[in-house]
């Protein structure tokens, strides 16, 4: 009897605790945000009045958060110093960390109404816009923020429902990394920069032959497929529409199957061991001589090895004469909707992407600058690797009309689907055509599932 009593008691207690917690969290969070909102209103009006009376002697504090490695921290801190020199009435509190835990912390801070004023986002900016915590920047454009020299596609990338929510800190573009040392070893001459897929087919088997244990090229995988579609004037998914056919998928996989059969591309056993980290990638490990990378990673790949790497555009489609590469945003700076000093936030973000001195310090760390004037200014001063990247970005922004295509809805699941399809073909479990059709059908299902939610 006694036992049963305690078990019941335990059950009731646990129920109370759990329900108490949940109501607590939502209640606290809600109150808190309201509190801070009213606080901020009160504060800002006070600030303004005191500023007017004391002629802006008051020092405003802005909290700026970003993630990154050592190099980025050093550079960003220098830019902050510069900013504080120019605007002595604004003090910046830098809150930086590694990538681990960055967004967990941010989400908690938002829930408690304690998030920084300026926040660095990645491709997940849209998630936070949906949560309604990001400051729209439209009213500052033309005043505090100058976007006249920014490329249109990069502004589009931070625009949701017609409002601009952030500025791109750097642009990248898909490119092809070529191991020059390997080419020199085999005596195969380096291709011209407007090479075609036909050249690519000719040259990769020769590389595999001439090199011991190294294959000509790694599979370009899903990223390559996106570029491949753009070369045919198609796209993966934009504004609720799929822009390609199952035959495009089959053509892509057939291209790689042929390359493997000719000996040019890495065998499946090696390809499936590929890692996303530059230091452990196939090309750095010496398994292949050509790999598809994002341009901003050129430095990381080059520094991880003693071989000399070159950055090439994708092989052109000889029929359409396009290389299909588009600019992609790396990270954004965006404001916190709850900030007490939206104008200063706008000033800081503008300074960070448009000021010549500031961008010189930042260099290529977050990708090539979006402001074309800044890029021109940087090309002369950058080191060899950055110069190559800037030139590449310039080449892409001048020659390619491919639009920026955001990720599929349900990104993780669809990426996995592409990988599984590729592996089915690698290991002959399915013909190219069947696998491609299967991929296409499942992709449509997946997208439906995610867009209907």
């Amino acid at each position: 009897m006694k036992k049963i009593f305690y078990i019941c008691l335990l059950a009731i207690m646990s129920f109370l605790i759990v329900s108490g917690c949940s109501s607590n969290s939502s209640g606290d969070g809600g109150n808190e945000s309201k509190d801070s909102a009213s606080e901020s209103l009160g504060d800002s009006s006070q600030d303004e009045s005191s500023e007017q009376s004391e002629e802006s002697d008051d020092v405003i504090e802005l909290r700026v958060a970003w993630w990154g490695g050592q190099e980025r921290h050093d550079r960003t801190l220098k830019v902050i110093d510069l900013f504080e020199e120019k605007y002595p009435n604004i003090k910046i509190v830098a809150e930086y960390s590694g990538f681990d835990g960055y967004f967990d912390k941010l989400t908690t801070q938002f829930a408690a109404g304690n998030a920084p004023d300026v926040i660095q986002y990645g491709g997940n900016l849209n998630d936070y816009v949906l949560k309604d915590v990001v400051l729209p920047l439209d009213e500052f454009v033309g005043n505090q923020i100058d976007i006249s020299k920014h490329s249109e596609s990069m502004l589009d990338a931070a625009t949701f429902d017609g409002k601009l929510y952030g500025l791109t800190l750097g642009t990248t573009a898909w490119g092809v990394l070529v191991n020059k040392t390997a080419f020199d070893k085999t005596g195969v001459s380096l291709p011209s920069k407007d090479w075609t897929w036909e050249d690519f087919r000719d040259l990769t088997p020769k590389l595999s032959e001439g090199l011991d244990g190294t294959y000509g090229t790694a599979d370009f995988e899903e990223d390559g497929f996106g570029v491949f579609l753009a070369q045919r004037d198609k796209f993966s998914y934009l504004d609720g529409e799929i822009g390609f056919e199952a035959t495009d998928v089959a053509d892509w996989f057939q291209l790689w199957k042929d390359l493997r059969e000719s000996g040019g591309a890495a065998v499946p056993e090696i390809q499936v061991s590929a890692s996303q980290t530059p230091e452990q990638s196939l090309i750095v490990q010496g398994d292949v001589a050509i790999e598809s990378v994002a341009s901003n990673q050129y430095g990381a790949y080059s520094n991880a090895t003693k071989d000399e790497f070159l950055l090439y555009p994708y092989p052109y489609d000889s029929e359409t004469g396009k290389n299909g590469v588009s600019l992609r945003p790396s990270q954004f700076f965006a404001g916190n909707k709850m900030t007490e000093h939206p104008e200063e936030v706008a000033k800081f973000i503008d300074f960070f992407v448009n000021d010549l001195e500031a961008t010189e310090i930042l260099g290529n760390d977050r990708g090539a600058p979006v402001n074309s004037d800044v890029r021109v200014n940087l090309i002369d001063k950058a080191d060899e690797i950055d110069q190559a990247i800037f030139e590449y970005i310039d080449l892409v922004s001048e020659t390619s009309d491919a639009p920026y295509i955001p990720n599929y809805p349900g990104y993780n699941e669809n990426t996995q689907l592409f990988k599984e399809t590729a592996e089915k073909i690698y290991f002959d479990q399915s013909s190219v055509e069947d696998a491609a059709n299967n991929y296409y059908d499942k992709l449509i299902d997946n997208i439906k599932k995610y867009t209907e939610e």
Partner: protein
């Protein structure tokens, strides 16, 4: 017979040593990578470094401008030491009450305490953060240390309760005969007899606090407050360039205190676990 016995011993030892080396390999690899030049870490991943450099240590120690890794060590030490001392005192007091004293609804409170162990940390995360934010404690070490002063580590209380229950009550009774009150029994009888479990608690608290990442990154915002685990992550950016050499070098250094503590107190850890609550 004798000969065969030693033969089987050789085989067993050989097997254990091989297994040990295999398990040590990642650690050895980290140590050797920490003295390799950055561009050789992944391109020649063998155990024996071709070139030796201590640049990783110098570069890693001066993480960012104004702040050296020494500061992170200091911060980590302060938090860990406070946590250890606080946990030892308060958890043993709470455990003593549960094991020896009579008070109303004791079983209920005990069940509540056990439930705090089972409650996933994520469920309490945001309310906790909000409370500390309202107290103005964000970006100080208070959220990481003050709760320890209130015996919030249910696991250690439970561990100690089990241990205290094993101490014969006759000792308490004889102490009462000699005129000891509740407090004296705690300080004169229970604590001296509970050294193994106290050491276990101290060691685990230290290691867990030293290795803790999530609650530290949550409550510490600026780099001058950062601890070792946060400092190590400053080098890493999964999407950009990471300074792996510096990470390995500083990881080697940050392992030293824990290794030292573990080897010094190894005997007590085993003893503490064997004699306290954790058994089948």
């Amino acid at each position: 017979m004798n000969h065969r016995l030693s033969y089987s011993k050789v085989v067993t030892h050989g097997f254990i040593i091989t297994l040990g080396v295999l398990m040590l390999y990642p650690v050895l690899w980290m140590v050797s990578s920490s003295i390799k030049p950055e561009n050789l870490i992944f391109s020649s991943p063998g155990l024996w470094p071709k070139e030796i450099t201590f640049n990783n240590y110098i570069n890693g120690w001066n993480v960012v401008r104004d702040v050296s890794f020494g500061l992170f060590f200091k911060n980590s030490f302060i938090i860990s030491v406070i946590s250890v001392v606080a946990n030892l005192i308060t958890c043993s007091m709470a455990a003593y009450a549960f094991a020896r004293l009579k008070f109303p609804l004791k079983k209920l409170w005990f069940a509540c305490m056990l439930m705090t162990i089972m409650l996933p940390a994520h469920a309490t995360l945001i309310p906790q953060y909000t409370i500390f934010h309202n107290l103005g404690w964000i970006n100080t070490i208070l959220p990481l240390t003050v709760p320890k002063l209130l015996a919030t580590d249910g696991f250690f209380i439970f561990l100690m309760v089990q241990f205290f229950r094993g101490i014969p009550r006759e000792l308490d009774e004889s102490a009462i005969m000699d005129g000891c009150g509740v407090v004296k029994i705690y300080t004169r009888i229970i604590i001296p007899l509970a050294v193994p479990v106290l050491i276990t608690t101290a060691i685990f608290t230290f290691i867990w606090t030293w290795d803790d990442f999530f609650s530290q990154i949550l409550y510490l915002n600026t780099v001058d407050k950062f601890t070792v685990p946060l400092g190590l992550r400053l080098f890493l950016d999964s999407q950009g360039e990471s300074s792996w050499g510096a990470v390995f070098a500083m990881s080697v250094l940050s392992m030293l205190p824990i290794t030292l503590i573990f080897f010094t107190f190894q005997r007590y850890i085993v003893e503490g676990i064997a004699t306290s609550g954790i058994k089948g």
